[in-house]
Every structure is written in structure tokens, then in C-alpha cells.
């Protein structure tokens, strides 16, 4: 809503910028990204590290497009539109790049809970088995010394595979599924939560998301807001309730409803999306486009719903 309030920031009309995407003209407000323009033009650009509430990190390179006059492909999620840009989203070069990115990710990371992966694999002819057999679970990813890395002998493809971390009742960390997109780090850091409980530890292929000294979450600076889980694109971070149901084989999104309501724990008025299966809240997310919370919640809003169901387990009255 562009309303001017007395003393408030000036509302200046936003200029429209016209660019060409795959031969068709499209106009978007100045300051938009190529990705926004592509979406407006009805193009389906794959993204992984892009987050609608976060500053683009340019980490995953899956949204690359070809830009006329540019030597290299450009990340559409961060590159701003400029007048008369000519963008190509589906050239051989673009397809080849996306294929490689997806093959490298899929050969080293468990993408089984990442939405749309099968579709993209088919679209870009991804053959992630061509690097050979995948390396088995490593128990030492958290304990390597800085700078120390032993190159493999080529028998197996290096993987992120490691045991799942379950150290509390609220959310679990399955870093075998982590693509190092940095979204959780940014959500925990200056962009939203400012708790700084997690960062990237290590270098190169050894790097992974970690708490300080790889401490368990309850011993770390984590305040269990779950705002990292909210933005995780692969399911590396997931709510304990969802994890347990997946393990038990009862997680069924087709049987779930999603209802937006308002948190009951303080006067701020954060919006909650309650995911309900069999009349039980199984997960709480928050709408990213809402002015109060922008997808963020605190521990009570995110996890404090249990009292309602405890009532049911007690048999109601």
C-alpha cells in the first residue's frame, strides 16, 4: 500500500522497467530482480537458496540465466533488472549449467525431501549416478581440524552423509540433506533473529552448518524460534513432530489442512499457519508476506501449541 502519512517517508511513483525474456517483453517495477520478471512472464525458474524474506545469497547457482552481453551466466534471484536487458532462460548453456548444479547436489546430498527435485531432474536430464557410488555415512564431519582435508581416491563420490542430530524435542537437524544455502544462518543472524547460534564451520567440502564448537542445541545460543526451519529449502531442518511422523510413516500432506490464525502468546499478533492432520496440529509455519512477523515466530508461537492437544489426550471433559 503506497499511502503517504504526514511526516512519513515520501511515496514516489515507481518506474517500470521493460526487459526482454525469451523474446517477449515484460515490465516490472524498478529494483525488481530478473527472477521477479521471469515469474511475471510465467517462466518457471528453479530456485533453492532464494528466500522471499532474505537477501539473496547466490549460493546454489540453480537459477542462473543467460544475459545478452554478459560473459557469464547471471543469478536471476539477485541481479536487478535494467532497461532493455535481453534474458534467455532455457538455452543449452543454461540447461547445461542447471544440470551440472543439480547433479553435483544430488550426488552428494539427500534431496529426498526437497520439493520438485524429481521434476527438475527429468527436465534437465540429470544423471547424478555418473560420479559413481556414494560415500557412506561419516561420523566425523563435526570434528575435523581446520584446514585438514584428505582427498578421496576416486572410488566413491563424496557426500554430506552423516547421522541425524536429535538433541531436543522441538526440531531436528539432518545435515545429510543440507545444501549449504546459508538461509538458516541468515535467518538466525542479522537478517531476522539476531541470535547467531549457527554459522558455517570448516572449509571447502568439509564445511557445514554448526553451532559454536558443534555443541548440542540446548547448550548453544539457540532460542528455538524455528525461524531457520521456516526457511530451510530441503528439509535438513524439520520440526520434530514432522520428523517423527515421517519416521512412523504417518506424515501425509494430502490429508493436511493449513489454516491461518493469530498467535495467543502476547500482544504482537504474529500470524500462524496451522498444519493439521487428523485434528492434530503437526506443524506451525508463518506467512512470509505478513507485516507483523514476515514468516518469523518465537518459541511459544512456533512450538507452544501442545497444550491444546494435551487437553484432547486427557480425554477432554
Amino acid at each position: 500500500m503506497n499511502i503517504h502519512y504526514p511526516g512519513g517517508p515520501a511515496v514516489t511513483p515507481v518506474k517500470q522497467i521493460t526487459i526482454v525474456i525469451d523474446g517477449e517483453e515484460v515490465s516490472v517495477p524498478e529494483g525488481s530482480t530478473i527472477l521477479t520478471a521471469c515469474n511475471a512472464a510465467g517462466k518457471d525458474i528453479p530456485t533453492l537458496c532464494y528466500g522471499d524474506t532474505l537477501t539473496p545469497k547466490n549460493a546454489c547457482r540453480v537459477c542462473m540465466v543467460e544475459l545478452k552481453g554478459s560473459r557469464v551466466l547471471v543469478p536471476s534471484c539477485s541481479r536487478k533488472v535494467q532497461p532493455d536487458m535481453v534474458v534467455m532462460t532455457d538455452t543449452d548453456r543454461v540447461r547445461h549449467s542447471r544440470r551440472l548444479v543439480l547433479e553435483l547436489l544430488d550426488s552428494s546430498v539427500d534431496l529426498s525431501t526437497t520439493p520438485r527435485i524429481p521434476e527438475w531432474k527429468e527436465r534437465y536430464n540429470v544423471d547424478s549416478d555418473r560420479y559413481g557410488k556414494r560415500a557412506s555415512e561419516s561420523l566425523t564431519r563435526d570434528v575435523h581440524d581446520p584446514g585438514e582435508h584428505h582427498a578421496g581416491n576416486g572410488d566413491v563420490a563424496a557426500t554430506m552423509c552423516q547421522p541425524i542430530k536429535i538433541d531436543n524435542d522441538l526440531y531436528v537437524r539432518d545435515y545429510s540433506k543440507c545444501i549449504l544455502c546459508y538461509k538458516c544462518v541468515d535467518a538466525c543472524g542479522t537478517q531476522w533473529q539476531n541470535s547467531f547460534a549457527i554459522q558455517i564451520a570448516g572449509r571447502g567440502f568439509d564445511s557445514q552448518i554448526s553451532t559454536e564448537f558443534a555443541a548440542e542445541l540446548p547448550e548453544s545460543a539457540c532460542v528455538f524460534c524455528g525461524n531457520c526451519v521456516e526457511v530451510c529449502p530441503t528439509g535438513a531442518l524439520s520440526f520434530k513432530s514432522e520428523h517423527d511422523m515421517r519416521v512412523a510413516g504417518t506424515w501425509d500432506e494430502s490429508q493436511q489442512t493449513e489454516t491461518t490464525t493469530v498467535c495467543t502468546y502476547c500482544g504482537v499478533g504474529c500470524n500462524l499457519n496451522l498444519h493439521v492432520q487428523d485434528n492434530q496440529i503437526v506443524k506451525v509455519t508463518s506467512p512470509h508476506d505478513h507485516s507483523v512477523g514476515h514468516g518469523n515466530l518465537c518459541i511459544k508461537g512456533r512450538f507452544g501449541f501442545q497444550h491444546v492437544q494435551n487437553r484432547k489426550e486427557d480425554g477432554g471433559s
Partner: protein, 545 residues
């Protein structure tokens, strides 16, 4: 610039604090005024650690400094306020030195806050229960209002007074008339014209008398005027000050009805319990948040057992009383409110849904919204400016529960990030960062008492006594204790607190209790039970031979 005065928003309003953090990263200056060096104070440029209950004095000291430094907004004071001369007189004794001596805050910090606040282009004072839960809570609020009037930090974009509501719908409850003096939509029970509007709508005659506040009801129970009580969604036996006195009053009543989503401690006193649906997820309706934003609440779950929607319970009671109210949806009830409340008139359910909530006043469907109030004070035309905003001249008055040789320590209470009120909701999930019931002591007091973390101590006030384990809190100054109020089943903090109520708001002085603390070998029953349970579990773990 942001001043958090008696507000630990980082823990109590975490997502509001996200907005503050955005400002902090853009360079906003932050002051924290709080007896505790709280999590919020950790983000502040400066922390003013005042003694509990000296807020009025500190505000006068700041006001005097602003006046003497010539930093007042003269034009705004002349155009939009009244009572400035009296205010100046009242400020005069509060030199930096006197204020510093009374509040315990270094004079230089008081001067800095005064100058930064007055010179800031935009400044907000945010407060919570640290201001209001005093016997003179209303005076505290007026003192903060004075500072805003003095500098013109009110009614402008980015400047203002921000009371942060502690509960999801306490704003909405008041707006809807759950206040003894008000009808829904800010209309006065004492005003015949306002009453007539409702009488026409409901086809009834309404008594012109104001109702009682909670504290007045307590008084009326003592005197025997109030013999029947209908309690909806409140747990006064655990949430109100001096819990022993509250329990005794309820025992003496003729009849109590409790309508709640849980069988709370209060419900155990009831003759009739009406199980209700959880408003936030088992029924439709609206909540109004701290920024006056009305948002839709939606039913996501079927309530358990025979629990019913609050609207339906009311209707059924009316039916038993011989009134055939129609069955109404939440939206129909809302439309009824819109019909009598001009400030809500423009807010249809459709608009509330499309816009993700709307801030009142919103009299017209075409808007605009009102992101801040009191903008009229800046109008050039005196007619549009309307009634002048009065400076208040409250007296500084120390907490009712005085410190003396027997009760030399000051206990203050509050909420932690992971817990909420009497714990009946937040107790439902396993928080990895929950300390549980404990008493926070400064390292200095721990050394003086010769106690270690985890040791049990007995904390006593003039009204009661409880046992609690010690937790070290370096954010406390010597002589100041803190206890979270969220675990009344383990440690009944309100057995200690004093029922000294603010005469206007009726709020009790939860923030200032005089206590003493003693080492003890006693361990309370609940803890013994816990140990016994742990022992049993350990035995269960021993492998069978």
C-alpha cells in the same frame, strides 16, 4: 531512537523486537531503563538501572534536564498542550543530583538520555508491565507521556508512545467493552446518548452505572456485596497478587462459574465449569494486537469433548435465562459491533482477510488505515487540533511494600522467553531453554548469603513464604531478586506479592515486593516427588539379571 522503559521486549515480545533490531542495524540509538540488565538492555547503547519504583522521579529528572538545556519543542507545547507551567514547577526540585540519588542511576546517563531523546528526529518510548504493575502505574505512564509532550515525540510518523500489550487480545477485550466504564467501541456507559444506541439495537434498558474493576470486585467480595462470580478465561487464584487472599475470597462465595479451556486451579473452586473451545485455533473471531490491528482468528481444529465455542456458550446461557438470542457466526457478531462502533465500521471480514488485518480507527471501507494516533495535535487549525493534551503532575511515591531491616531485599517478577503467565499454556511443550521455577540472585547477594546455584532458599514477604532453587543472574544489581511468575504450581510467587492496586487501572504492584531470603535444608514436596520419580526411572533402567 528507542527507549525501552520497563520492557524486556527481546524476551517478552520477540517479534516486535525484530522490528527494533532492523532499526538498530540502521543506526537507531537504544536506551533501556530497567532495574535488571535484561536481554533487551544487552542490545542498548545505554542501560539505566533504576531502583524499582522510582520511574516517576527519573522521568521528572529527565524532564527538568530537557527544560534547562533549552531542548523542549516550544511550538508544540504552546499549540497542543496544557498545564506546562505546573509541570515545570513540579520538575524543578529534580536536579540531576537529586534524581540520581533517588533512582540510583548515574547523573551522566540521565543527562545523556534527556539530550538524546529531545534531539532525536524520531523517538519512541516503549513500555510494558515494568511501568504499569505498580501501585502508581497510571502515574508512571503519565510521566512518560509528559516526556513525549515536552519534545513533541507523539502523533508523528516514527515518534510515539508504545505500550506493548502482554496478551494476545487485551487490547481487543478493552475495545469491545470488557472494561467497567465502556460499551463496545469506546462508548461510555455513563453517556445516555451512547447507551441509547445500544438500547435501541438490543431492545433493552441498560443500567447507567459503571461496573467494577477486578480489584474493586476483590474488595466487594471482602465486604460481602459480591457473592457470585462468572470467570471466563482467567486464572486469578494463580495470577493475582496475594494468592492466599484470593483463594479465601473465592471459598466464601455463594456460586462460581468458570469457563475455560483447562481445569485451572481457579476452576477447582467452581460450582460449575463450562469447557470452552480454544479461541485461537478452535473458533472463529478476531484478536486486536498492540498496534490496534484487528486480525482474523480461524478455526483449525475441532474442540475436544463437550467444549463449546464461547459465542455458543453465551447464547445457551441467555436461552436458559429466557432470552432467545439467534445463533450467530463470529462474522455476524462482528457486523453487529461494526453497526455500533464507528471506529470499526469500515472493517468488513472481507477486508480484514484481504489486508491481513487493519488498524483502527477505520470508519470507512476506503480507508485510510491509522498507523499512529494523536496526529491531530500537529494540525495548524486549532479547531482540527481539538482538545489540548494535558501535562500530568504525579507525585513520586515509592512502592507500598517498604524495605526495612526484616525485609531488606526487593523482589520483582516477570516473564521469560519460553514461558507465559500461569504456565497452563506454555507448560504444554518441552522447552529446552526453560529454567523452571527459581529465584534469580545477583552474584554479590549469592556470595553474601553463601549459596550456590541450585541450592534451595526460603523467600519470605510480609504475606507469605516459598521455597525455590537459586539461579545466578549477573544482570541483577545487589539487593534485587527476580522470579518468573510462570510456575505457580511449583513456586507460588504470588503468595509473596502485595495486593497494592493502582487506584485508576486497578493493577497490583507485582513488580515491587519486600522480601528476605534464608538458606534452608527444606526441599518442597513437588521436588521430592520429582526425585522419587527420577529414582524410579533409574531403577527401571537397571538391566534385569
Amino acid at each position: 531512537m528507542l527507549v525501552f522503559w520497563g520492557s524486556n521486549a527481546r524476551e517478552a515480545h520477540p517479534i516486535f523486537f525484530h522490528h527494533a533490531l532492523k532499526a538498530i542495524h540502521k543506526g537507531a540509538k537504544v536506551y533501556a531503563v530497567d532495574p535488571r540488565r535484561s536481554k533487551t538492555a544487552e542490545w542498548a547503547d545505554s542501560w539505566l538501572g533504576l531502583d524499582v519504583g522510582t520511574d516517576v522521579a527519573l522521568a521528572y529528572g529527565i524532564g527538568r534536564e530537557i527544560i534547562h538545556a533549552g531542548l523542549t519543542n516550544k511550538e508544540f507545547i504552546a499549540n497542543a498542550t496544557s498545564g506546562f507551567d505546573d509541570y515545570i514547577k513540579k520538575c524543578e526540585p529534580w536536579t540531576l543530583e537529586v534524581t540520581s540519588r533517588e533512582t540510583g542511576v548515574p547523573a551522566e546517563l540521565i543527562r545523556q538520555l534527556a539530550h538524546d531523546y529531545a534531539k532525536a528526529e524520531r523517538a519512541q518510548i516503549c513500555w510494558t508491565l515494568g511501568i504499569t504493575e505498580h501501585h502508581n502505574g497510571t502515574d508512571n505512564v503519565r510521566s512518560l507521556c509528559n516526556l513525549a509532550l515536552l519534545t513533541g515525540h507523539v502523533g508523528r510518523w516514527g515518534s510515539g508512545l508504545v505500550p506493548l500489550r502482554g496478551q494476545n487480545n487485551v487490547q481487543g477485550g478493552g475495545d469491545m467493552g470488557a472494561i467497567p466504564k465502556n460499551l463496545p467501541g469506546f462508548q461510555d456507559v455513563g453517556n445516555a446518548e451512547h447507551r441509547a444506541k445500544f438500547e435501541r439495537l438490543w431492545n433493552v434498558t441498560m443500567p447507567p452505572k459503571y461496573g467494577m474493576t477486578l480489584s474493586e470486585m476483590m474488595h466487594a467480595m471482602d465486604e460481602g456485596h459480591l457473592t457470585n462470580l462468572y470467570i471466563i478465561g482467567e486464572n486469578p487464584v494463580q495470577s493475582d497478587a496475594d494468592s492466599a487472599a484470593v483463594g479465601k475470597r473465592l471459598e466464601n462465595l455463594d456460586h462460581i462459574v468458570v469457563q475455560d479451556i483447562f481445569l485451572t486451579k481457579t476452576a477447582t473452586y467452581a460450582d460449575v465449569v463450562l469447557p470452552s473451545a480454544a479461541a485461537w485455533c478452535e473458533s472463529d473471531g478476531t484478536f486486536t494486537n498492540s498496534e490496534r490491528r484487528i486480525q482474523l482468528v480461524r478455526k483449525a481444529l475441532e474442540p475436544p469433548g463437550s467444549a463449546k465455542d464461547d459465542i455458543e456458550i453465551m447464547r445457551l446461557i441467555a436461552e436458559r435465562l429466557g432470552r432467545g438470542w439467534p445463533k450467530q457466526t463470529a462474522e455476524q457478531v462482528w457486523d453487529e459491533l461494526r453497526a455500533v462502533s464507528p471506529k470499526h465500521y469500515g472493517m468488513t471480514y472481507q477486508l480484514l482477510k484481504e489486508r491481513g488485518g487493519l488498524q483502527w480507527p477505520f470508519p470507512d471501507e476506503n480507508g485510510p488505515e491509522s498507523p499512529f494516533l494523536h496526529g491531530r495535535l500537529w494540525e495548524k487549525d486549532p479547531a482540527k487540533r481539538g482538545q489540548l493534551a494535558p501535562f500530568g503532575t504525579p507525585e513520586h511515591s515509592l512502592p507500598v511494600d517498604k524495605l526495612d531491616d526484616e525485609f531488606p531485599l526487593r523482589l520483582t517478577t516477570g516473564r521469560r522467553l519460553t514461558d507465559y503467565n500461569t504456565g497452563v499454556q506454555s507448560g504444554g511443550f518441552n522447552s529446552p531453554i526453560r529454567f523452571g521455577a527459581c529465584v534469580d540472585l545477583s552474584p554479590e547477594d549469592m556470595a553474601q548469603l553463601d549459596v550456590n546455584e541450585g541450592e534451595w532458599v526460603r523467600i519470605s514477604s510480609r504475606r507469605g513464604s516459598v521455597l525455590a532453587p537459586v539461579r545466578k543472574e549477573p544482570g541483577l544489581r545487589p539487593g534485587l531478586l527476580f522470579m518468573a511468575c510462570n510456575f505457580p504450581d511449583e513456586v507460588d510467587v504470588n503468595a509473596l506479592t502485595i495486593e497494592a492496586n493502582d487506584p485508576i487501572s486497578g493493577t497490583a504492584e507485582f513488580k515491587a515486593t519486600a522480601v528476605k531470603i534464608e538458606k534452608t535444608n527444606e526441599v518442597p514436596t513437588w521436588e521430592r516427588n520429582l526425585f522419587a520419580k527420577l529414582d524410579r526411572e533409574k531403577q527401571d533402567l537397571v538391566p534385569a539379571k
